[in-house]
Assembly symmetry: C2
Homo-oligomer: 667 residues x 2
């Protein structure tokens, strides 16, 4: 059996031939041209590159998300504790120490994951590998929620940092936050390379400026040079109203504060998702970067919390100015140093939101590959990025930013549940991995990951309980809802695949004995003749022109003209009394369908010029094609006729006694 | 040359055959079912009927528009005159006498038109017949504007009458007016028969109730029983503010009042449009009805104006209550009689708006037949009426009602220009007719129509000048703009017709020597096999399966699977480095196009089940069909495959040494 399969790997541009259709300009629709204008030239598929980045850059790129959370985590803790009065805010320091302890456990645990899954160890992949379907889908749903919230929270917090420095912008809070989301979407659709050196700058700037702030703050506090923040009378009134002790100090309150503080932990898993981007030895470099990140983050978090408690800084209910801005202004004064802190905070938070824009489309691509998300999410777009994933994330984040009016405090109760769920599942998976694989030192790994899994599971329960009424219930509902949806999608794809599957032994049956071609004719014009001519090309057993008498007078006139022209194809005029053309055509086609007959319907399509001339015609042919194209066993062919082009049908003089058109008449 | 042309005039329902595709339920899209629910069962084309109506009914049907204008014409005159102080309102009586004189001239003139154009003598037809294209287009544009304004003004005035009786509804003015427009649209889309007896009732009710009001009013005034209206202190203040003499009594003011009063004349031409609906002798009956209408209308108009001036009734700036309502309440008291007047006013005004709904679609059908309006306006809809015309009128009237907040006083300056333009053109046309045809008594006809033409032309100039600043400028701009549009539409249709025209001597060239078929394959599944199978049915010189490597990995996998199955059709994998599938397909097709080659592209279309499963797939095939279907010389065929149906491709066991599929391989 000869069956050549030719595979073209590189495409040569077609050589231009004069007057040849191939020399026509390449197809560019208006929407394509717009896309090109906004996103730049299309990138070649071959340009997909695996970039490897240095540890120093990697630290900055992957750590922006966890490190940036130090900008708001302390404030969120204090906002809870202040419910028991201003004195209770002093509890923030021990709570933050507990959170840093949890961070330590996580880092030990994720070092194990990096060692085992050195290519791409996201919670979804790790869980799928060890627990399979449902657990992986739960991890996936948790991560999806978390990525969306990372964008919404980071962008809102960045906007808050900006507004703290420039109070005049406060009325533009929502437009600014929305603008950042759109800017990130645009950059990522263009194929922004996050591995670039430029992306390291904001992270280091933030680390240095907060580091200096903490060091200077501690120094000035130790030297007794700086006391508590003195609030203005007006601010003090606002804070007194907010800071009145409405609840007693209780275990619930402390755990609630702890829950709010755990938002600092979001993004810790980022490095494990991006191991493949590190230089060799990948795992080793990734692990070192992870530890460095943990040390920096822990130091900054405790430092900020320490200063907040020492200076008796209190969070404003509307988050303006932010707690960090208050501390910075108190320590550095309202000058240049303060501005640097605020601007670097804004930059790192926008960069943190950007990590979701690079991680979410990858996760969506994985999940779509497993057929639990729509397949469109696997398509590389114009600039080689997974554009559909970026668009979905943008839309979801916009809904949250607009729904919560870019209010960090409102968004925080939804945050952290997703991430802690994925921590728990990833670590439980690793524990299971150690139990089943029993690689060297598996006891140690099991101890670390088992502890991690248990601790994060407990933290998850604490978070759900303490934040439930504040908004966590939405996430508690959303996760199973998303999982249900993922499973439904999987079912649909599986059923479809079963129905479309081709066995290796498949072969084509011989052609059917009869082929009937109906040419739908609405008027006797060149376009209809073009379709008739094509019908003859198909050389069917039976070729008929069919007109539906929507307007009986016109039909009579057409039949009359038809009988006078020199075209040897019979015209059948069928009644269509209710003028529902689609239904009439369907009936006529159905009457011709037999098991031994292939039916082809030809529809001529007139290509009218500009848009405004097109609205002078009804779009019946488009509707016909859509309807007939969905009827089983009916092949519908569009025979185009461009107005203004050279017609293919020639007017020839008839010579008596000779039919210049050959056969083609009815059987 | 044998060429049967079969014409089916009545359609038999297909006999149901078990398991046969013809026994499938008839095609009903969701939108079709919705349409059926709202509008009722589709009517048969054969049901188009010419109904003939009695004079008594005709009078009511065709006169509702002119007679109903007596409900607001006096008020509009007074609103102008009161600018020169309340005393100036007394000028209304002589002005209305002048308007009735004009009415007399018009009626004499239209009697001539009816005698000459006994089938359908609308201004458009008469002008086209005597002056041809441009003048007819001006008449058409004027009539279009007038019909739209008749709906807007009548519905707004009807709403004002309703509100005058039920003050509690005043805040619902715009929704009520909009509701009436929609109600009329719905009734007319359903195919409301305006010839029905029920339609005579509101007109007679109005004539009788206003007749009684005028008679009783005059009687009570003569008997000295009733003096001027006594306004409440609050109303008097409103009226004094409005009635302060801001301009002196001048010729301009008087002509301005006259212009506002001419709105009473709108609709006088209705009878001449509907001559064909009268019983024989049609012209005679129509002429008599015209005279009767003129007498009734003139009497009521002068009667209302007389009472308004005698009772010193003054118009409120917001038209609430209306002048007619004030008079009715003054003469009849606030009881049952007053309510009857208001309700019958509402009814006749809604009926007047309805005359536009029956006239406009007919005019649009005529104009579309002359190719100066889109052809869609000629299509009879679900219930045999010209639905598209009804929809256009509804939309335009809604824009006016909403734009002017259903304010009669705001709309009036736009009104009457269109109708007086069409009067002038129709009568000038008749004058020309008399000059060219010189039928018996043509001198008399010329004198009548010539006078009519000159008088209405002068009135037109007066109206444009006096109302220009109030809003008439919009119409002065709109008429030439519409004419320009009509002519552009005509140009486009003419050019298209030239390009599509088929000479009687036309014949089809012989089929091309080569027929190449490309089957676009995106995956090796049953749907693709179905398309390959159909490709073999076409028996082309060259049949190739083509895959575009949007994802190179998938392409490699496909080529691999292809080489292992038992289908003797070669697969060509073409690179598509920029993932712009549409452009890549277009290039590949263009490369195959030659003058001696017919190219057919087969696209398989998977019919997925419900809507929500459809969104799990991208719609590339629809885009491909649209693009390729507009490429000259490329025939694109949709080969459908319904998931869940019995596949046409069978899995057979291959037997060594024998290819069960026959030929079909490449040349």
């Amino acid at each position: 059996m000869t069956k050549p399969v030719s595979v073209e790997t590189e495409r040569q541009p077609p050589s231009p031939r004069d007057g040849d259709p191939a020399s026509r300009p390449r197809y560019r629709s208006i929407s394509y041209r717009l896309k090109r204008f906004v996103l730049g030239k299309a990138l070649d598929t071959a340009a997909v590159a695996d970039e490897r980045i240095r540890k120093r850059v990697a630290l900055a790129v992957f750590s922006s998300d966890p490190i940036s959370s130090t900008a708001y985590a302390t404030e969120e803790m204090l906002l809870v504790l202040v419910l028991a009065g201003t004195a209770a805010t002093q509890l923030a320091l021990p709570i933050s120490l507990a959170i840093v302890g949890l961070l330590g456990i996580l880092i030990l645990s994720y070092r194990q994951i990096i060692a085992t899954y050195s290519s791409s160890g996201g919670a979804y992949v790790v869980t799928k590998d060890n627990f399979g379907g449902l657990a992986a889908q739960i991890a996936g749903a948790a991560l999806v929620i978390d990525y969306v919230l990372t964008v919404a929270v980071s962008v809102s917090a960045g906007t808050a940092a900006l507004i703290s420095a420039f109070q005049g912008l406060s009325w533009l809070r929502v437009p600014i936050a929305t603008g950042f989301v759109l800017l990130l979407a645009w950059g990522n659709l263009r194929g922004l390379k996050e591995a670039g050196r430029a992306f390291a700058v904001p992270t280091y700037l933030y680390v240095v400026s907060i580091g200096v702030l903490v060091a200077l703050g501690v120094w000035r506090w130790l030297s007794g040079d700086l006391g508590p923040i003195q609030y203005s009378a007006e601010d003090a009134e606002t804070l007194a109203g907010a800071g009145a002790a409405v609840v007693p100090v209780s275990l619930f309150l402390i755990l609630h504060g702890f829950s709010s503080g755990t938002t600092a932990l979001t993004g810790v898993e980022a490095i494990s998702n991006g191991v493949s981007a590190f230089r060799t030895p990948q795992a080793r470099n990734a692990q070192r970067t992870l530890v460095a990140m943990g040390l920096i983050m822990g130091t900054l978090f405790i430092g900020v919390t320490f200063l907040a408690t020492r200076f008796h800084a209190l969070p404003f209910p509307d988050g303006n100015p932010t707690l960090l801005a208050q501390i910075a202004r108190h320590v550095l004064g309202p000058g240049f140093g303060f501005l640097v802190v605020q601007v670097s905070t804004l930059f790192i938070l926008v960069l943190a939101a950007n990590t979701s824009f690079s991680s979410f489309p990858l996760l969506a691509n994985f999940a779509a590959g497993d057929a639990i998300l729509p397949k469109q999410l696997r398509k590389r777009g114009h600039r080689l990025v997974y554009s559909n994933g970026i668009l979905v994330l943008t839309l979801a984040a916009m809904v949250l930013v607009l729904g919560f009016r870019a209010d960090v405090h409102g968004l925080i109760p939804l945050y952290a549940i997703g991430v802690v769920t994925s921590f728990t599942l990833a670590q439980a998976s690793m524990a299971r991995y150690h139990l089943t694989h029993r690689e060297p030192h598996w006891h140690r790994g099991l101890a670390i990951n088992g502890t991690g899994a248990v601790v994060t599971a407990v933290v998850l329960v604490v978070i759900v309980i303490t934040k439930f009424a504040d908004g966590a219930w939405m996430v508690v509902i959303a996760i199973p809802a998303i999982v249900f949806l993922l499973r439904r999608i999987q079912d649909v794809y599986e059923r479809e695949e079963d129905q479309l599957e081709v066995e290796a032994a498949v072969s084509l049956p011989p052609p059917k004995p009869r082929h009937e071609v109906m040419v739908l004719v609405d008027d006797l014009d060149r376009a209809s003749l073009e379709a008739l001519q094509y019908g003859r090309q198909l050389n069917p057993l039976n070729l008929t022109a069919v007109h539906f008498a929507v307007d009986p007078d016109e039909a009579r006139e057409l039949a009359d003209r038809w009988s006078r022209i020199n075209v040897p194809i019979p015209l059948e005029v069928l009644a269509c009394p209710d003028r529902n053309l689609l239904a009439c055509v369907q009936e006529a086609v159905a009457e011709r369908q037999r098991n031994d007959t292939e039916v082809t319907v030809l529809v001529s399509k007139r290509g009218y010029g500009r848009f405004w001339t097109r609205i002078l015609h009804d779009r019946t042919s488009a509707g016909l094609v859509r309807l007939l194209g969905s009827m089983e066993g009916v092949n519908v062919t569009i025979v185009p006729y461009q107005l203004g082009h050279t017609p293919l049908v020639e007017a020839t003089r008839t010579r008596p006694g000779r039919d210049p058109t050959g056969d083609g008449g009815p059987d």
